[in-house]
Amino acid sequence: MTKAIEVKDLWKVYGPRKENVPLDQPEKLSKMEEKREAVVAVRDVSFSVDSGEVFVVMGLSGSGKSTLIRCLMRLVEPTAGSINMNGEDVSSLSNQELTQFRRNAAAMVFQHYGLLPHRTVLENVSFGLNLKKVPRREREERARELLSTVGLEGWDNYYPANLSGGMQQRVGIARALASDPPILLMDEPFSGLDPLIRREMQEEMVDLHQKTNKTIFFVTHDLDEGMRLGDRMAVMRGGSFVQVGTPEEILDDPADEYVARFVQDKKEMFQEAEKENKGKQDRKGLTEDVS
C-alpha cells in the first residue's frame, strides 16, 4: 500500500534558532528545557499513514499536536527530520513549490475555523480556488456543490459571523474539500462544538470519508472521538508518540501507565454500561485527573 504521509525523526524546538538546537547532545537540550530557553514541542516523532487511512493523534493540551500538524504543512518550520507527503519531500520544498503543495496536495481544517470574516460563505469555500486563479464561474459552481455536500445550500451570501459554530466548521470543511486534495489535516475541528452537534459532525465525517476515501490526519484531545474516527491512533505526550496502534490495540494493551490511565475509564464504560450519558461524566472526571 502506498504511504500518504511519512514522517521520520521529526523535531520541533521553539526558542533558539534552528542551528543552535543541540539535538545530538540530549543532556544539553534537557538543560535548555529546564532553563526554559527551549520548548521541545515535537520530540523525535516518526510514523506513516496509509493512503485512505484515518490517522488520529490524541493527547492532552500542550502535548504538541498542533505543532505537529502545522509542521506537516510547514506553517511551522521543523527543526529537524523529514516529511514526505503524497510523494513530495515537504521539508525540502522551495517557497514556490510549497505554495503549490499547499494549494493542491493537502488542506487543513482549524479548531477555530480560520474563516475570513470579510468574505461570504461562498467566497470562503472558494478561497483556495481563488488563490489558484480558477475562473470565477467555475470556482463558484464548485463551491456551491460543496456547500450542498456539507448541508449548507442556500447560505452562499451569509457571512461567517451569521453562522453557528457547527455551520462555520462545515464551511471550513467545504473549503478544505474545494480543491479536492488527497490529504486532509484536521486540528481539533470539533472541539469547539457542543456534544450533540459534535456527534453529528463526527458521523458526517465518517460518511464523507467513505465517499471520498481521502487520507485524514486528525488531531483531538478526546479519546472517545479518536476511537470512533480513527483507523489507527497515536497517543502523544510531551512531544513524543507514546503508543501507536488501532483503537482496539490501545484499549486492550496500553503501552504504559499514561496510556492506561487515559484508557481506563473508556474500558470501564464498555464493561459497566451501554448508557452513553454515564460514560460522558466519567470522561470528564478523567480529563481533570490526568491534567
Binding site: M73, L75, Q100, F110, L115, P117, F127, N130, A161, N162
Partner: protein, 283 residues
C-alpha cells in the same frame, strides 16, 4: 553672560546648504512643486464649481446613510450653513482644497509606508522612533524646511501640512495590518496564499477600519496645520485667523476660528461614519 567669544552660528552654513540643494536639484523641486500646485488648483477649482447647497445635500445624505441618525444628520447639515452666514464660505472651500490635497498626498505616501513597516520588522524598528519624533515635534518646526526649499506660497503650505499630518496614517496602517488575527492569516497561508495574496486578500481588507481611522486622524491634523501653514502662504480660513490676530480683531478671528472647528466636526463625523462601513460583519 555667556562668553561672546564662544558664540557660533550655523545659520550661514544651512543657508549655503539650502542654496546648494536648490541649485543642484532645481529641476526636481520645480517638477514637484508643479505637480503639487496643479493638483491643488484642480481640486480647488473643482470644489469651487459645486454650488453650496449640493455640499449641504451631500453632507446630509452621507451622514444619514452612514450613521442612520436623524438628529446628527440635521446638525451636520446646518453647521456648514453657519460658515456661509459668516461670509467665509469661499475661504472655507480654499481651506478644504488644501486639506484635501495634503490628505491625498499623505495617503499616497503613508499607506505604502505603513505596509512596508508591517511587512518588514526592521523597517518598523526604523520607522517607529521617527514617527514618535515627528508627532512630538511642534508643528511650527515643519514650516522651516519646507519654506527653505519652496519659499512662501501654497506649495510649501501643502507640504508642511503633509509632513505634519502623515504619521497617523502610517502608524495605523502598520498597526492594523499587524493586528489581523494570526489564525486567519495562518489559514490563508495553509491554502497556498503567497505573501502578496495574503496582503491583498486578507491583511489589507481586514486592516481597513484601522487604515481609515488613520486617514481620519491625518485629516484632522491636516486641518489643524492649515491654520499654522497660513503663516507661509497657505491662505484660506487660516489666513483669516492670522490677520485677525495681527490686527487684534477678536470678533473676526472668532468667526474664522468657529468655521475651522465646524469643518473639523463635519469632516470628522463623516469620515468616521464612512470607516464603520468597512468593518467586517460580526455577530
Amino acid at each position: 553672560m555667556f562668553p561672546d567669544a564662544w558664540e557660533f552660528s550655523i545659520a550661514r552654513w544651512i543657508n549655503d546648504f539650502t542654496n546648494w540643494l536648490l541649485t543642484t536639484f532645481s529641476a526636481f523641486f520645480d517638477a514637484l512643486s508643479g505637480i503639487i500646485l496643479s493638483l491643488l488648483l484642480n481640486i480647488h477649482s473643482g470644489l469651487e464649481t459645486i454650488p453650496w447647497w449640493i455640499y449641504i445635500l451631500a453632507i446630509a445624505l452621507t451622514a444619514f446613510f452612514t450613521t442612520k441618525k436623524i438628529g446628527l444628520t440635521i446638525v451636520l447639515s446646518i453647521l456648514p450653513v453657519i460658515v456661509g452666514l459668516f461670509g467665509l464660505w469661499d475661504l472655507a472651500i480654499e481651506t478644504i482644497a488644501i486639506v484635501l490635497t495634503a490628505v491625498v498626498i499623505a495617503i499616497i505616501i503613508g499607506i505604502p509606508l505603513g505596509v512596508i513597516m508591517a511587512e518588514f520588522k526592521r523597517m518598523e524598528g526604523l520607522g517607529r522612533p521617527i514617527l514618535d519624533a515627528m508627532q512630538t515635534m511642534p508643528s511650527f518646526v515643519y514650516l522651516i524646511p519646507t519654506m527653505m526649499l519652496f519659499g512662501l506660497g501654497k506649495v510649501p503650505a501643502v507640504l508642511a501640512t503633509v509632513i505634519y499630518a502623515v504619521p497617523p496614517v502610517i502608524r495605523l496602517t502598520n498597526l492594523g495590518l499587524r493586528q489581523v488575527s494570526q489564525e486567519v492569516q495562518e489559514a490563508a497561508l495553509a491554502y497556498g496564499a503567497t505573501r502578496f495574496q495574503l496582503l491583498k486578500e486578507v491583511r489589507i481588507p481586514l486592516a481597513m477600519p484601522s487604515i481609515l481611522a488613520g486617514v481620519n486622524q491625518t485629516t484632522m491634523m491636516a486641518l489643524a496645520m492649515v491654520v499654522i501653514a497660513s503663516m507661509i502662504g497657505g491662505g484660506g480660513l487660516g489666513y483669516e485667523v492670522l490677520v485677525s490676530i495681527n490686527r487684534i480683531d477678536v470678533g473676526r478671528g472668532f468667526e474664522a476660528g468657529i468655521s475651522v472647528v465646524i469643518l473639523a466636526i463635519v469632516i470628522d463625523r463623516l469620515t468616521q461614519g464612512f470607516a464603520k462601513r468597512f468593518e467586517p460583519p460580526s455577530n
